[in-house]
Every structure is written in C-alpha cells, then in structure tokens.
C-alpha cells in the first residue's frame, strides 16, 4: 500500500476521538472530542473579538474623557474623569473575565469563537453543564494563558534574568497539557469536569432515491436501464457506499467520471462516457438496496476488504 490509509485505519483514527454516551432511552450517541487545532482557532477568534471590543470601548471612553478635560479648567482630577476611570477598570476586568463565562453559560455552551468553529463545552459525566463548572474552567484560564502571556511580555530574557524562560516553561506546560491526556482536556477542563465536543449542525440532505436514475435505474440521457448482478454488487461494502454517496451529493463532474471509471474496471464493465452520473446513481441505489437488505438479516460488510 502507498501512503493512502486503509478504511479501517481511518475508522480507527476517528474512533480515537469518539466517545459513546448512552441516553436514558438506551440510544448510544457518539460524541466526538474536538480536535486541538479547532480549539486553538476558536480561542484565537475569541481573543481577537475580545481585544477589538475592549480596545474600541477604551478608545470611546478616553475620547469622552479628553472631551471633558478640554471644557473645564483643571482642579486636581475632575470627577468625570475619575468616574470614567472607575468604569474603565471595572469594564476591563469584567470583559476579560466574564466573556467566556457569560457565553459558555448560555444554552449553546459556547463562546462566539467556539460557535463559529462548531464546538461546544459539555460536562464530562453526561450531566448538565453547571455554572460552577463554567466558572472553574475559566478561572484556570488566567494562569494558563493570561498570566504567562503578561509575564512573557514584561519579563527579561537571557543575561538579564530567567523570568522570561520561566514564563515560557510555564506557558508550555499548560499549552502542551491537552497533548498528554486522551480526552484532550486543558487544565481548566480537568478541574471543572468538562470537555469540549464537536457540535456539528448538518442540514438534512435530499433523499437520493426519489429522483433520477437512483429511483428508476433508467438513465435520463440515454434511456438505458442499468442492472447489476449479485456478484457485481458483492464487491463493495458500506465504506465504499458512503464514499459514493458523498461523490454523488457533491456532484463534481471530474470526481464522478473518475469514480465511474474505477467502478467499471472493478466490476468488469467497459467504461463508457457521457452517462457517468446515471451509471453511478443506478449502481448506488442497487448496492444500497442490497447492503440494507443484508443488514436486516444481520449481515454487515464494513468495506471491500471484509
């Protein structure tokens, strides 16, 4: 085999991130742990939102402050400036500490960045995500991220002192934390009993077997009725069927032509051209009908190797 992974290897890789939760109805729901890359991009997005938001608000406050200084003669600090300063320091504190907590306590359990990346926070024991858990995981964010960052920005490096290196080391410990446990938890997740899951929101796609060649087996272009024998349908399994489904739903001509040719070779037909889609649709519906029929009798074929 070349560099391409086998279907079973792909499944295994995915299974590493999949956990099963059994609902009270007895239905096993697969949960997928969010990948570290997704989480990092969600965090970066959130930090950008926060930074832009707080800097904009500060700028507004300060321009207000400057306006009020210009009016009045100075007598110590004017009360208005003092008030604005109080508002500003409290705002800064609340924004940087409250942003994550506020959004994660919401019904979606995700900050805007997480929402964009399609992930959410959930309780590890399958219960509900409590406000206490959200508070705990976000208080830890201070020592995981903000504190070492401040230390790195202000601390000296090299001959001037070791504080910079200490800050880097500290930062690395928490940064690498998700690499050393199988649930990809950061320190805050560990303390709060939470994890971060993929929360995809797929649209329900059209049924494939209600229109076109999938329904009738007859090509609209040529009027030919494609019919496959049992031995021709027994070559592929579920993995290939679902790959074919993806190709048909995407509907990219090049992919369809290439797949049609491969399938033809595999089942020993002569590849024609011009009617690839109809051919694949007919093959798809008959393969699916066969595999689903076998399923009802408890026979499953995972992929072409099994």
């Amino acid at each position: 085999m070349s560099g391409r992974a086998l279907p079973s290897q792909l499944r295994e890789r995915r299974a590493k991130r999949t956990r099963t939760m059994v609902t009270p109805e007895g239905v096993a729901l697969p949960l997928t742990i969010a990948s570290r890359g997704t989480r990092a991009s969600a965090l970066i997005l959130d930090l950008i939102f926060l930074l832009v938001g707080t800097v904009l608000a500060s700028w507004l406050l300060f321009s207000t402050a400057l306006g009020s200084v210009a009016d009045k003669e100075l007598n110590g600090i004017p009360g208005s400036i003092e008030f604005l300063f109080v508002v500003w320091s409290i705002f800064w504190f609340v924004a940087w500490n409250g942003y994550f907590m506020f959004f994660e306590m919401g019904p979606r359990g995700a900050t805007p960045g997480k929402r964009i990346c399609g992930i959410r926070v959930a309780s590890r024991d399958g219960g509900r995500l409590t406000p206490e858990a959200v508070v705990a995981r976000n208080l830890l964010r201070d020592i995981e991220l903000f504190l070492p960052l401040i230390m790195l920005i202000s601390a000296p490096f090299g001959s001037e002192g070791a504080a910079g290196w200490a800050g880097t080391l500290w930062f690395m410990v928490f940064l690498l934390f998700p690499f050393f446990n199988k649930d990809r938890m950061r320190a805050g997740d560990l303390i709060a009993g939470t994890w971060v899951l993929d929360a995809p929101k797929p649209k329900l796609a059209e049924t494939l077997s209600t229109a076109g060649t999938v329904a009738t087996g007859t090509s609209d272009v040529t009027g030919v009725k494609y019919k496959f024998g049992a031995d021709e349908l027994s070559i592929y399994g579920e993995y290939e069927l679902q790959t074919l489904e993806r190709v048909l739903r995407d509907g990219r001509t090049q992919a369809i032509e290439a797949v049609a040719e491969t399938v033809c070779r595999k089942i020993g037909w002569n590849p024609g051209s011009g009617d690839e889609r109809a051919f694949l649709e007919a093959f798809y519906s008959q393969l699916r009908a066969r595999l689903e029929n076998d399923m009802r009798f408890g026979k499953r074929k995972a992929d072409k190797f099994s």
């Binding site: 949960l31 109080v86 830890l140 209600t210 229109a211 699916r288």
Partner: protein
C-alpha cells in the same frame, strides 16, 4: 384579462414539498420520508431554544419537545440498523445530541441560580472546605509571625520582604510622625473611587492566582499566602516599634478583615483542589478534581464579591474615618462574613442531603 380571484394571492408553502413517499425506491428512504417532518419540527424548536428564544415557543411546542426527542432517538436507533444513508445518520445523530443537551439539561436561569447561590449555596461550599480554610488561616498567621520575627531580629529583612515602591516612607527607623501621617484621615473623597477600582482589580488578580495555583497540589497557593502575610508582619513590626500598633491594626482592619479573609479563602479553595487531587479517596483523580474544582469555583465567586466590598471599604471608610470607627467597621465586617458563611445555610444543607 383574467377575472380576479381569491386564489391569485397565495402564501408560499411553509416547508418545501416533501417528495412522494411512494416514489422512493429504497425502503430506508421511505422510512426517512415518513418521519422527516417530525425531525424538522424538532430541529426548528431546538434552533430557537439554542438562540435563547424560549419565550417565543408556543405551549404546544414546549409540550412536544420531549416527545419529538424520543421519536428522533428511536428513529436513530432504527436507522442505525436499517439505513446506510450517511447523511441521514449524521443529521439524526447531531439532532438527537442537540435535543439531548436541551431536554436533559434543565438549566436554571442565571438569576434563579444566583438566588440559590446566595441563599445557601455559597455558605455550603464554604462549610465544605472548612479544613482547608483552617489550614490557610493557620498558614497566614504563621506567615505574619515569621515576617515579624525576621524583621525584629534583623531589620534588613524588611527590604527583602517589602518591595520599595510599596513601602514608600514606611521603613524601619521611620519617625513616628511619618508613620502616623501615612495613617491619616483624608479630607475629601476625591480620587478615592478610582483608587478603589484599581485595588479591586489588583486584589482579584492575586486571589485568582492563589486559587488557580492550587492545581499544582496547592503548594504554590500556600507559598503565596505565606509571602503576603510575611510582608504584613514586617509592616506591623515597623509600626509597633513606634508604638502605633493599635492605630495600624485599626487602619488595616477596615478592609483587611474582608480582604485578607478573602485572600485566605482563595488560597484555601486552591488548596482544596490540590488536596483532593493528592488524596482522592474512593473516587478517581479526575472525578475528585472535577468535584472539588466546582466547589472551589463557588468559593471563588464569593471571594471576588468580598473583594469588591473590600475595595470600597479600603477607599472610603479607611481613608475618611478615625481610628475607632475603623476598628468598629472592620470588626463588624469580620463578624458578618463569619456568620454568613458558617452559621447561615446549615438548615438547607440537611434538607438537600
């Protein structure tokens, strides 16, 4: 010209027309088409719930939600065994998962939670970590005594403990007048609210640090407590060497009873996590960490609130009131916190357990 009829103005169909069920060639697609309407209704309800528009849902929809959820869950179970349509399976899985988060996550609103929190939740969390609070207080006192003793033996220690910019004129050997001046009553409240805001953000940062360091088995939390209290002990020695112990303690106690208590609580919360992770008992380490972390988080919310009080007290009564008033306010605040945390909420505990 056509005669106008009522039918000329028609509403657009609300849902796209579902393909004829009989037209579907595959049994599994027929299964899906028969149930699709219910799934879409559930999807619609969930979308609005997730957007926080609970009020916009009609009564029927709220009643329907659990039934639709169970239906979707059973559809998923059947589809897993009969259908190979990956897109339908993927949609159903995510639909059931979303519904599960909403149906079995009977979250209480933020305000309902806050009410429960202040009428007992906070106190119970404090009572649950009593051992850690005792240790943290003992460590704090030990730290203060150490600071005192070190400076009493050799006043050079003062400069090692107290940062120069913080000490200002308050150094060993400073005259009584200078020290008394630093405790004096301010004439007006100008500039003090800004001072308070700054104090608060600074102290909140320190206490969050004390809490979060508990992650490293609590040792850094304790070190932080010892250091801060040693600094206080050193200061105390400077004042008492000029016979100003009473004034200094009164000056400090206005907000100190609240603030130092809060910082000790933050350290205790951090230590609680560290202790539970080191000695998880019957539970797994992860479960113990999660449970203690959530308990400690409640304490931390209390700590931040105490620090808001402390900052206000520090800025106004401390700078504006005289010695006796300072001592009275400080003592009262201490009693108030002790009563609220340890005497209140016990009754509810029995009921909840």
């Amino acid at each position: 010209m056509k005669a106008p009829t009522l039918a000329m103005f028609t509403r657009a169909p609300e849902m796209e027309t579902v393909p004829d069920i009989e037209a579907a060639a595959l049994r599994s697609d027929r299964f899906r088409l028969e149930r699709e309407g219910d799934w879409k209704r559930l999807d619609h309800i969930l979308t609005r719930l997730e957007k926080g528009q609970l009020r916009k849902l009609s009564d029927e929809e709220v009643v329907e939600l659990p039934a639709l959820y169970r239906m979707a869950a059973s559809s998923l179970a059947v589809a897993r065994e009969t259908s190979l349509d990956a897109s339908t399976l993927g949609y159903l899985e995510s639909l059931v998962q979303r519904a599960w988060f909403q149906v079995y996550g009977p979250r209480i609103g933020l305000f309902a939670w806050l009410r429960k929190f202040f009428t007992g939740g906070l106190s119970r969390a404090m009572q649950a970590i009593w051992l850690d609070i005792c240790v943290a207080l003992a460590v704090s006192v030990a730290g203060a005594i150490t600071g005192w003793l070190l400076v009493a033996r050799d006043s050079e220690w003062f400069y090692a403990l107290v940062p120069v910019q913080m000490a200002g004129p308050r150094v060993p050997g400073a005259s009584r007048e200078v020290l008394l001046d630093s405790l004096k009553v301010e004439e007006s409240a100008q500039g003090l609210s800004a001072f308070a805001a700054q104090l608060f953000t600074n102290n909140a940062g320190v206490s969050i640090l004390a809490f979060a360091l508990g992650f490293a088995f609590g040792i850094p939390s304790l070190l932080l407590l010892v250091y801060n209290m040693a600094l206080l002990g050193a200061m105390l020695w400077v004042y008492s060497s000029q016979g100003l112990t009473g004034e200094f303690v009164a000056w400090l106690s206005v907000h100190g009873t609240t603030e130092l208590f809060a910082i000790a609580l933050a350290g205790a919360a951090g230590m609680h996590i560290g202790r539970k992770m080191a000695f998880p008992g019957q539970k797994s380490i992860l479960a113990a960490a999660a449970e203690s972390g959530q308990r400690a988080a409640q304490v931390m919310i209390g700590v931040v609130l105490m620090l808001i009080f402390a900052a206000v007290l520090e800025a106004f009564p401390r700078q504006l009131a005289g010695t006796e008033a300072r001592a009275i306010i400080g003592g009262f605040m201490l009693l108030f916190w002790l009563a609220y945390f340890f005497a209140y909420g016990r009754r509810n505990e029995g009921r909840a357990a």
